[in-house]
Each structure stands twice: as C-alpha cells, then as structure tokens.
C-alpha cells in the first residue's frame, strides 16, 4: 500500500529504498552460503551482473584467510550472524531491552525520544522526511545524485556498474569480499562537473528512512572540479544486536575535485567494526578523510588514498578513544603513485580504563613519484596505567626525490598542566576534560559544528570518573 504525503512523495518507497516482491518470503537465518547470497540478490530484484558479482565475491570470501595481524578477530562467529535482515526487522523489541549505558548516552546527548528509538533500532521510523526532501530538491537542481546504493543500482544502473568495485575489488581482502557478497544499503553520491555542494551531505537524514546496514556499500563519484562533503553516520551510539559491521566505501575524486568524508563512529561496544575505505585521487584532486572512532569493541579501519596523477593531495585526520574492553586500531594509508603528490596524516588517540588505542598506517611512495611529500604525526595520550597505546606506521619509499617525515609521541596528562588549571580554580575532572579536549582540538575543529559539539560531549561522557 502506497503512503503519500502532501508533497506527493511515495514515503513507503523511500522508507525502504525498494519494494518487496509481494509473493516472496525471505526467512532471515544465521550463517552464510551461496544460497543466502543468491537470495539477497533475488530479494532486491537485481540484474544478472550484480548477482554474478556477489557470488564471485562470496567464492573469494570462502577461500581468503582472515587477517592475522592487528586486533584479535578470533572470536567473531561468522556462522552466527544474520547476513541480511529485512529493514522492517527490529533490532530490539522495546526501549526497555536496551542496555542502560546506551539509554544514558542518549539522555546526555539530548537526543529527542523519537530519534532515540530509531537509532536504537526500537523503531525503524523517524520522520525527518521533510528535511531530507527539501535538501533533496536542492541537490537535484544541481544534478547531484544522493540516494541509497540499492536505489542507485535500479535508477542509475550504468553509472553504478561503471564504478562499483573499481576502487575496492572483492579480492582486496576477506572482509571486502564479504561485503561485496552481501552488501545492502549505504550511499551513492554523484557530483557533476564543477558543482560545489555547499551543505554537507549527511547520510543521517537519509538513513532515517531505512535501517542502518551492517554491510553498507558507499560509492562517491566527484566529477572534475566538483566539491562535496559527505558525513557518515552520527555521533549518537548506534545499538545493534549484531556483532559485525563490515562496510566498503569507494570514492573517485577526478581532476581538480575535492571530497571530504567525515565519520564519527560510535557503535555499541559489542560490535566488530571492520571497514574498508579507499579513495582514488586524480590530477590536482584532494581527498580528505576525517575519521573518529569512539564506539565498537574492535575497530580496524584504515582509510586510504591512492594518488594516481600529479598534484593529487591526501589528508587523513584520525581520532580514537578506547575505554574499557575496547581496541581501536584505526589509521590510514597514502599511496603516492604519481609525481608531486602530497599527503598529511594526523592521528590522536586516547586510551583509558584498560582500553587499547593506536595508529596503524602506510606511506607508500612508488619509484617515479618525484617531488612527493608526506608528513605523519601521531600523538597518544594514556590516562591510566592499565591502558595501552600502539603506533605502527610503515613507510615504503622507492623514490629518492621525496621528503618524508614521521613523528609520534606518547605521554600522560602532565601533573603540571593539571596543577596549573586547578590552581585557577578549575576542578580536577573539568581540568582533565579541558586537557583532553585540547589534545583532540586539531581534529575537532575540522568537523561540522554540530558534530564538533557532540564529539566534545561524547568525550566528556567517556571521561566521566577519570579523575580520582
């Protein structure tokens, strides 16, 4: 039954991003085999090439070993996961079932009741349609496409087929293969030549119209000279009963274009967050990743930029906060494959209460990438003696005409700093907060205002009880 609002928009359609074939009953079941992959494709009524693509990716997934480096992934039970859940299936049945700390965080962040229920998965509905559609009209005038990837596959099949899997092929790694086999949702963004999208595109508005996916697939194409700022997810904790989030994000930044991609990840602390994010930057293009990791049990995520033509630039700003039971293993990769390319990586990590945070990265400079520059800076703050910080940068330099620097420091909050603030009448916990905020400031100032505010509030929340 179609539900239309006053603007004549078919809400039902946008709510789920696709219409279910009426006679098809998909029974959600745990585990994965080729049949489940084929069923997902059939559910979505996909064309043959995508079904073949998924099945090929599944084949590769079964043969590929799990990564043995980085965080400990041994306890993921791949057979006990729902690989596809209909968007109508609820994550939690009632508000009461939600873990107390999730509810508490919503309270502190001041998120409205209805929105809380959506975010927590209690309700799959949240009426931000009006905001979304007003913005959507603006974008459409400019020729910008911003839809979920399933819709894009139906409405812009040629565009999707041209770019899908070209930046992150299914053979890239086991988890990329898994995503390629079972992906659902995610965003598709197309910015035409010369178009500057002034308001950040926030997946937040759009995903309110569908459930947050575990296996999202995002594809962003910036035509020459264009600009877009895409903001993924939101700072509110995302509660899910499923323990695995494996997304793939592919970005193509063509000549002279600029793309900025911001994520503040705050998954609940039962989630393994294993994400492959990669961009290709062409001549004089700029790719910027701003990557914040606060939630999840384990995060392994290394946004990367392949600079394939002269003058391409990459910037990666990474902030990680690991509390009790958390292992944040984020980082970044910059691949200089053309002359006069430049990259900057800044990482700030904080660990407390037994948490483990750090940086893992790669700077690769191919022979012939003359005049390239790269600077990597990693700072870590460890707030107590039970916590841990790791720094694993790798530099592979095959060209002589380059300049590469890497610096890292690990330190504690100094007694002098605390004493100074407290001597000015600032209470101990507030002083600690101020110091930590100052530590992450270089990254927070790059965020859109509302995100910066929320991130600061979240860090404050994480910091509660950190002093005496």
């Amino acid at each position: 039954m179609a539900v239309t609002n006053q603007l004549g928009i078919d809400l039902e359609k946008y709510k789920w991003g696709f219409r279910e074939p009426e006679n098809y009953v998909f029974k959600a079941r745990r585990g994965l085999d080729a049949r489940v992959v084929a069923e997902i494709s059939a559910m979505k009524d996909e064309s043959d090439w995508m079904r073949a693509y998924r099945l090929h990716a599944y084949e590769h997934y079964t043969q590929r070993p799990m990564p043995t480096w980085g965080a400990d992934l041994a306890s993921i039970d791949f057979d006990n996961i729902f690989y596809y859940i209909k968007p109508t299936d609820k994550q939690a049945n009632s508000w009461e079932e939600l873990p107390a700390e999730i509810k508490r965080t919503y309270d502190k962040l001041g998120i409205p009741e209805a929105e809380r229920k959506f975010l927590s998965g209690v309700s799959a509905q949240y009426e931000s349609e009006v905001v979304y559609h007003n913005l959507k009209a603006e974008w459409e005038k400019l020729g910008v496409i911003f839809v979920d990837t399933d819709t894009a596959l139906r409405e812009h099949p040629d565009l999707v087929r041209q770019y899908f899997g070209t930046v992150v092929p299914p053979e890239d790694n086991k988890l990329a293969a898994l995503n390629s086999a079972v992906w659902s949702g995610g965003s598709f963004v197309y910015v035409p030549e010369g178009v500057h999208v002034d308001i950040p595109l926030q997946a937040y508005f759009r995903i309110n119209a569908q459930n947050m996916g575990q296996f999202e697939r995002t594809l962003i194409i910036c035509e020459p000279g264009s600009y877009v700022h895409y903001v993924e997810g939101c700072t509110a904790p995302i509660y899910t009963t499923d323990s695995l989030h494996t997304a793939v994000v592919e970005i193509i930044v063509k000549e002279g274009a600029r793309c900025r991609y911001t994520t503040i990840q705050n998954w609940s602390t039962n989630v393994y967050n294993l994400v492959t994010k990669r961009a290709v930057a062409y001549r004089d293009a700029t790719m910027e990743w701003i990557d914040g990791n606060l939630g999840s049990k384990i995060t392994m995520k290394y946004p990367s930029v392949y600079m394939v033509e002269p003058g391409a630039k990459a910037e990666i700003l990474s902030v990680a906060f690991a509390g009790k039971g958390q292992h944040q293993d984020p980082g970044g990769k910059v691949i200089h494959a053309a002359p006069h390319t430049q990259s900057v990586i800044v990482s700030k990590s904080i660990s407390r209460d037994g948490g483990r945070a750090g940086y893992r990265g790669l700077v690769k400079i191919y022979e012939g990438a003359k005049g390239s520059r790269s600077a990597v800076r990693c700072d870590a703050l460890i707030l107590d003696d039970r916590s841990r910080s790791d720094t694993y940068p790798t530099m592979e330099i095959d060209e002589e005409d380059v300049s590469i620097t890497h610096e890292a420091t690990v330190s504690k909050v100094s007694d002098e700093q605390l004493f100074y603030l407290m001597s000015r009448g600032v209470k101990a916990d507030e002083a600690m907060n101020m110091i930590v905020r100052g530590f992450v400031e270089p990254i927070v100032k790059e965020l859109p205002l509302e995100y910066a505010v929320e991130l600061n509030r979240l860090i404050e929340l994480e910091m509660e009880g950190s002093v005496g």
Binding site: V402, H406, K412
Partner: protein, 438 residues
C-alpha cells in the same frame, strides 16, 4: 686425534655430535646442542608470510648446501684484517678467529690480573664451565626460532668476556674474525658478562678475506650488564658481497646499568639483524646507535627493540642509513613499555638518506605502550640529497661528487660524534669515504 672432524658437510644429528666431540664438550653442552637440533628439525624455515620476515626472502638461500662447520687453516693474517686490528688499537686484548678456529689470543697482563676473562668460547666452556653454563643461551633461547635453534645446535667459535664486579676494563677488547672459504656457514657465539659495577668495551669486527662465493653467518651476541655495570659494545661487519648474515644482538641491562651499543653494517648481500635491549632493572639505560651504508644490490633488514620492563628506565636509539644504487634498507624499530614500567623515557630516531633513484628505504617505527606515566617519542625521516646544500657547496668551487661526499659525511657525523672511540670513528669515516669514492 685422527678421527677429529675438520669439516661438517651436512646438517645432521651425527654432525652435531661430532662437533661436540671435536671440542670435547661436557655433557650439558652436548645435550643442549642436541635438544636445539631437535627443535631445529621440528621448525620450518621462516617465509615472508611471517611478520618478522616480511622484508627478507630466504628463498635465495639454500642452507643445506652450506657446510655448517669449517676448520680454519693456519696462516698469516690477511692484510685487511691486520690493518683493521692496527687501526682499532690500542687494545687491551685481541682475539683473532679464522673460520671456526681461533688463530691467536692475547690479553694484557694487567687486564688479566684484574680478573678479566677474554677467551675463545670453546676454551671458556673448558676453563670456566660454571660461569658459561650460568649465562650461555639464557638470553637468546634455542626455541625462539629456526635460526636460533640452528645456532644453538652448531655454534662454533666466538668470544667470551667476563669482567668481575667492580673492575673497570677501560681499554677495548677486540674480537676479529674473518673467513675466506666459500659455501660455508658460520655460527659464532659471543657472550659478554659485566659483573656488578664493572665496565668494559668490546669491539667485534668480522669480514671476508680474499675468498668469494656464498657464505652464511648466524651470529648470536648475548650481553649481560649486571646491576650498575656499563658495557660499550660495537659490532662492525664488513662481509663480502655474497655473504648472508642473520644475527641477534641482545642485551640484558640490570638495575642502574648502562649499555652503549653501536652496530655498523657495511658489507653483505643480505643482512638481517635483530638488536634488542631489555631494560630489566630500575635505572637501566640503553643507547643504541646504528650506521648502515648499502650500495649495489645490498639488502639490510634491521629490527630493533627497546624493551622497558622496569620503571625509571631510559633508552635512546639513533639509526642512520644511506642507500645508493639499488640497495634496500628496512628499519623496523619497536619501543615496548610493559605494564608497571612507569617513568620510562624512550626515544627512537631513524634517518634515511637515499642517494640514487633505484635505492629504497623502508622505515617502520612502532610503539607498544602499556604504562602511562612516561615519555616516548619516535621520529623517522627519509630524504634525498638536499640540492640546496649541494648548490651551496658547489658555488664554493667544490665539484659535485666532492659536495655529495661532504653531505653524506655530515649526515653520519651526528652519529659518529656520539662514539667516543676515536680510532673507530676514524676507521668509519674512512669506510664512508671509500664508499663514496666508488
């Protein structure tokens, strides 16, 4: 003894037994060798899939073809070895080993009188069994890996240094070894024990004489600085261009003890060396310096570890590498601070200078920090010759190659300035100049 072996051509249990019999070893040494040999047979050769072997591909090496024990023939010292001995003087003692045989040993009467022991490892096993048993293969264990097991099974020759408590052996002890035999493998073991409050300087220099052909060297160096002791240790290797070296230099630094380590890599075809300091007692400190200059198709794979296992410990590492032609250098440096090692200060710096288009430098500085009241920094920089510096020098009338040489000398000067042994510094300056002249 007519049945004494002078050469082992295969790696077998029988060869290990024969080697032990050749040196008339006590049961505990023989048993330790056999236990290690069993472990060696159980383990497989590392591949580039192993995290610690990612940068070095062993498939070019066929250890089975290398004779694991070769007796050195008597004869005059080659000119290069004599020159090295004379250049590094004055010394308080010199031990010269050719292949797996000690050809001369000397220790000043004064130093010997103070109780300092400086001997060939086999002689040490014979003459000071209790002392050797207490320390041998305790720091580097046979079951750590294939090469450690191999070394523990067939080690031969090497140096033993013991300095009693409170004795200061200020003048360096020099251990020189060289080989001129192809298709042979060498397993020298060095053990340096500095008793509480003692001081010692040991220089270990090894190289190839006139011979050519593939050689493999698997040295293990164990350095033990007891409480309040100070060890200055220099490893200078200048192997021939067909030599492979896979070595470990590991130090245990006790309470208020100090290690000053310098590792110099100039020769070799493939060199993989692990240089590790364990700061085991409060107040321990470790200075770790490294100088590597690769050219041709040389491959260096250096792993360092600053292992802070006690509070109030200090480590400072500086490794400088220059690579030209198609040489590859890989520096993988770890600072690890264990839980409870508060008030640690750890610094690590790796600087790479790339001199030609085909040369490569890989730099992997890593931190694993499990304490919070500390200060750790690492820095890594890789750059080519600075054209502005060159231009300045050339504008003063220097030809380009002369200007390049000066820049390279300047690059290493920061490191050499921290080596207080003037003769060694001179020798290294000469080595760098020779490299640049090629």
């Amino acid at each position: 003894m007519a049945d004494q072996i002078t050469e082992a051509t295969e790696l077998t249990r029988g060869a290990v037994e024969a080697l032990s019999a050749r040196f008339d070893e006590p049961a505990w040494v023989r048993e330790a060798r056999l236990r290690a040999f069993e472990a060696f047979e159980r383990m497989s050769w590392p591949t580039t899939q192993d995290a610690r072997w990612r940068r070095t591909d062993l498939s070019g090496l066929v250890p089975d073809r290398l004779r694991p024990f070769v007796e050195g023939a008597p004869g005059p010292l080659p000119a290069a070895v004599r020159m090295l001995r004379d250049q590094l003087g004055p010394t308080a003692g010199v031990l010269v080993q050719r292949d797996a045989t000690t050809v001369s040993a000397h220790l000043d009467a004064g130093t010997a009188g103070s109780g300092v022991l400086f001997a060939d490892m086999h002689a040490a096993v014979r003459d000071y069994p209790d002392l050797v048993q207490r320390y041998l293969m305790r720091l580097v264990r046979f079951d750590e890996g294939k090469f450690q097991a191999l070394h523990a099974a067939v080690w031969a020759s090497g140096t033993f240094v013991y300095v009693p408590a409170g004795v200061e052996a200020a003048v360096p002890l020099l251990a020189l070894s060289w080989t001129d035999i192809a298709d042979a493998a060498f397993f020298p073991h060095a053990l340096v024990v500095a008793g509480p409050g003692s001081r010692v300087t040991v220089i270990s220099a090894s190289g190839v004489g006139t011979g050519t052909g593939r050689t493999l060297s698997v040295p293990v160096v164990e350095l033990v600085a007891e409480d309040g002791a100070a060890i200055r240790h220099v490893v200078l290797s200048d192997w021939g261009r067909q030599a492979w070296e896979i070595g470990v230099v590991r130090a245990h630094v006790g309470r208020d003890a100090a290690l000053h380590s310098l590792v110099v890599g100039l020769g070799g075809e493939v060199v993989k060396t692990d240089v590790e300091s364990i700061l085991a007692g409060p107040g321990a400190s470790s200075e770790m310096l490294g100088l590597v200059f690769g050219d041709g198709r040389q491959h260096y794979d250096i792993h360092t570890l600053q292992d802070h296992a006690a509070p109030h410990t200090f480590s400072d590492l500086l490794y400088k590498t220059a690579v030209s032609d198609r040489a590859v250098s890989s520096f993988i440096g770890m600072i690890r601070v264990h839980p409870g090692a508060q008030k640690t200060n750890a610094f690590q710096s790796n600087r790479n200078l790339i001199l030609s288009a085909g040369a490569r430098a890989i730099s992997d500085p890593k931190l694993e920090i499990m304490a919070n009241d500390l200060r750790c920094t690492h820095g890594s920089a890789t750059s080519r010759l600075n054209e502005e510096h060159l231009f300045y020098l050339m504008s003063r009338g220097l030809p380009r190659d002369e200007a390049v040489r000066m820049v390279v000398e300047g690059f290493f000067a920061e490191l050499l300035d921290r080596v207080p042994l003037e003769p060694l510094r001179e020798r290294l300056r000469g080595d760098i100049a020779t490299r640049m002249a090629v």
